[in-house]
Symmetry: D2
């Protein structure tokens, strides 16, 4: 067993880390950190539990400590569910001695920090060596992308490799859990939706191209097609839905697009990583799927469900589909854990 | 006062007709039709009222009659809120002697039937003469487009005229009222959304180009740019939200796009029609608007609210915005009434 | 016209005061106060407007001032939408020179402060003289009850007078607007409800008996029957629904109960106060009404709608009904305004 | 393994039966029936699957047959998820040769048909012998109560036994799944609730007393305290919430009430039946629990969660609490399965 810690363990994503890690066959939770206010308390007393399944017994008695590397001992990997501003300061300190698998956005676009989806660009892990040399750290930081980006990019990867992409338009309908328990007032979500999520569109546009780019000589060159995102918040607890319009560079037909997604397998599938879904992309053929409540938990919340895959007759080599991905599992805690499983296996 | 009737007066759109017409300064409700089951009853007894504002006193005692022209007398205009299949059979019979202002889709794409948004293509009313000659009717049928199409096309009209359009992608988040009171089960709308609305995408793609087309020699030639729609149902009572990505043919900047929409006025504004909003398009500048609950009722539900108007850096001459339009007012009953006001004024 | 001010004008209830007062025939808004952060700004710049209808033009340019009597001039009445803790400190200062019509709970249960529903206990206004003498104020404070209490007590009043009450059990299903815009997270209201509202049950139990009590010799003796409340938050924007079980002291039948509520009129109806509903209680006979979205706005949100009035066969002289009342109109801003109208008319 | 069938297998409760039975250690699904329209089809083709977890592989290829005993063979127990009218006709026919564990209400109040909650009144199974003699059947019918009744009665049982009950008032907030997938329109559940569920209050009042009654000489004498119910539908997918006011016959304090519920165990717990929750009642102490989304799945959806247990100061020996029970598991399919497990163990 590898001993692990969770930074920011009391928030929404922190709780998902606990839920997923408490039953993990290879990782064992040994440390939980939170803000100074919670430090010193039993986890059960420090956290207001938000998830539908009850708090795992195994963490209730763990004493929460300050989010400070001096307070954490005897672990190899720390998972970071810290807020961005906090992560920017604290993650580098942890990386001096620990492996940091971070869901925070703070370090994602640093030149020497791998931003990774294991099915998409595992080779970016080569940046770890450069990062350690650059910064003189014994540990290192690996990050996963924004929740909406992960689900989108998993579906783009096989298409990009096989047919090249010319343009992507994506309109999201995102769950409220992505903003934290108190993030979205109910006044905004009853008989309503909100067509704005701060910073989300920029992340989707930048991170997607970075993930589908090329690592050469220690430098990532992003992919060069156009991505345009419009992000909206809807009254759904978990599960982001994304409506995707895509134009391919090369000629292809609907069957080829379907087969490309359906046959897609990545390194996690080949290695049989614990959190890897059997198929990264599940395609449904009913006319009214995917739906977030019914499809978000596919394969433990780690598969992305695609439906309504159809030709776009208005434009050449163009297609449309709708996807659903679990934003706090595949899009956050599960993503960091899959990164850590990959590191544990190949580094 | 012009005497009017409402065909299909007990359904959701029928009730909106009643609400809007009961306080109309020029139209007076004289006849209400419904299915055979309701015929002979007082309207108050025949209809289960669905709207938030109470049933107008003036219609409670009107006796509902069968949807049959022989049952309707003493009116000049009938508004049709009939289901499509029904409309296809019944509207032509009414058109033999009445003006039919229809919200149904049955006759919209007939060559000699005007499909009209008064701000967009009032000149299509010229088809009326051809229709009457072709069919030997004393009356005629005029139709308004699908609810999602109307809101979209109003925002496209000034841009199309001024800069020409190359491509439009639109992803909708539509209210449940559009499907009728029993149309969408709550099981589908609690912690969920449904990424499919039967026939809606086809209507948006076809009707939009038809409306922005050209009438010459009695024939409509549709506009020729590409429109691609993806339609989704969300838990909102009234008000369709649409996320629009647009690429212009001609060079233009964000200020020009803004001004084009903001300055747009159509014939209803010039004529001062009773249901015409002061401005067809209201632009909001807050980062999180428009929102359906807060913006759907602008100008009595007849204005379309646009927000998040922004450049799309990924593509040339490209822009994005979000719009909200009231689906059963501007998108249905109010649309037919505005058509009738136009007819009443200029024919 | 009477010049008025609004204390705490930027919050949810403050905005309802503005909405209702901006079209009031006798009151004219002259002053708006808020926290120090907003002072000095135009109201339009200081407030994020939460209501479905747009901000009235007439208040946009009013300069917000600190909630401090020295900053407010030239008004006779101030309406208080202040948070409780704040109200406890500030309202007495304002009462030195102004009439304070308060929706805050801070002063409600003070011996010499009238807690009033004009239809229920207008005679408690006699406490004003005592209050002014006790405290040496030129102005005075009059309060209205908690939102849930108002709707309940209006329905109890005629029954109490006519048949005497033995016991009342009430289970509420309350709208989220009652907690302020940010008060209830959407995570708590999607596919969920919350069976707790801090302090609400105690207020309902205490205030109801106080309102139905007896003022004699300057002292209020509360009514002596039992009231038991259980309060729950549900995903509704506006409109509290209350399920009431009532046992009468005296023998009575369903028709008498019905007639008692239906015929109930109070002093505001007799005086024709501007905000008085024609009937304080509207009884509906459909099996599935009242419903908050459809009944909350009855008579401008000032009437309480009662439905499902039925005998309770399990117990003697017992009945059940469900009521809906608009929590931020009849239950808050409208209640204070009706109090002020009463004062303006009779003091 | 005992072979079982499911009558009405394509509806909401039928699907819960499939979900729960497909992983059952002792029961094996061998037959699925539905309406004539579905007969002859593979189950996967006949049913639109409504549950969040995917359809079990094991039932996909089962051929659906007509709901007719001649079509069903080789099973010992049939579970009935039939609509009431249908059940009244068909269940007796099945009972000629099969054990029928029914969730339908049709036969519940027949004199010789056991209406059972295994933790509450397992002794009513003695009626089986009478039933078989009366009707000349080789099989028999056992029923479980209405969903709201089950959760309520489980919490009342220990209190009734220990302190006797004087009166119970219960106000429910019920999930939409109880009405079937198409039962409640979303128009009724967005920014709204509906204070009426046909027949529900009568069932709660009658069945509760029947369950807590006394079987003597083959005749059930119902308990004699008063139960008054008011039933409301709220926008929650699964999980009924009930607000309970209770007055005890005998003197008791809050600690005794708490201990009585907390220590309650029934026959299923003693026998270790497969679907029996460890504790029938789970008491939570947070001020804002139970909540349906977070508590409905306790112990596989078979435990009832009680919270906000508190003294009711308004009345003597009176208490209040809120409960959440899963309506389609503990309140329907799981209830029938627990009945069948009990029968399988002791008959």
């Amino acid at each position: 067993m590898v001993n692990v810690g969770i930074l920011g363990a009391t928030g929404m994503v922190g709780q998902r880390f606990i839920e997923l890690l408490s039953k993990h066959p290879k990782f064992e939770i040994k440390a939980l950190t939170a803000s100074h206010r919670s430090a010193g308390k039993r986890y059960e007393d420090a956290a207001t539990w938000y998830l539908d399944k009850a708090m795992p017994e195994s963490v209730k008695d763990i004493t929460v400590v300050d989010t400070d590397p001096s307070q954490v001992d005897d672990v190899d990997i720390v998972f970071s569910a810290l807020p961005t501003e906090n992560a920017a300061v604290v993650e580098p300190k942890f990386a001096e001695k620990f492996i940091v698998a971070s869901n925070a956005s703070a370090m994602r676009m640093e030149d020497d920090v791998p931003l990774i989806i294991p099915e998409v660009n595992p080779e970016y892990l080569d940046l770890v060596e450069i990062q350690q040399k650059n910064r003189g750290w014994d540990g290192f930081i690996v990050t996963n992308p924004n929740c909406s980006t992960i689900a989108l990019t998993i579906t783009l990867k096989p298409l990009y490799d096989q047919f090249d992409i010319k343009r992507v338009y994506v309109s999201t309908m995102q769950a409220v859990s992505g903003a934290g328990y108190n993030g979205v007032p109910s006044m905004a979500m009853v008989d309503n939706l909100v067509p704005f999520i701060g910073g989300e569109e920029e992340k989707m546009e930048t991170e997607t191209l970075h993930l589908l780019g090329n690592l050469d000589g220690g430098v990532v060159t992003p992919a060069s097609f156009g991505v345009s995102a419009s992000c909206h918040r809807v009254p759904v607890v978990d599960g982001h839905t994304e409506s995707v319009f895509i134009e391919m560079e090369n000629k292809c037909d609907l069957d080829e697009i379907h087969a490309s997604m359906d046959n897609f397998r990545g390194l996690p599938q080949k290695l049989g990583l614990n959190s890897a879904p059997e198929k990264p992309i599940i395609i449904r053929h009913e006319e009214n799927r995917p739906q977030p409540r019914m499809d978000r938990n596919q394969d433990g919340g780690m598969a992305v469900t695609v439906g309504r895959l159809r030709k776009d007759a208005a434009f050449e080599n163009s297609f449309r589909y709708v996807l659903v991905g679990h934003n706090t599992i595949r899009g956050a805690a599960g993503a960091s854990i899959l990164n850590a499983e990959l590191i544990n296996e190949i580094l």
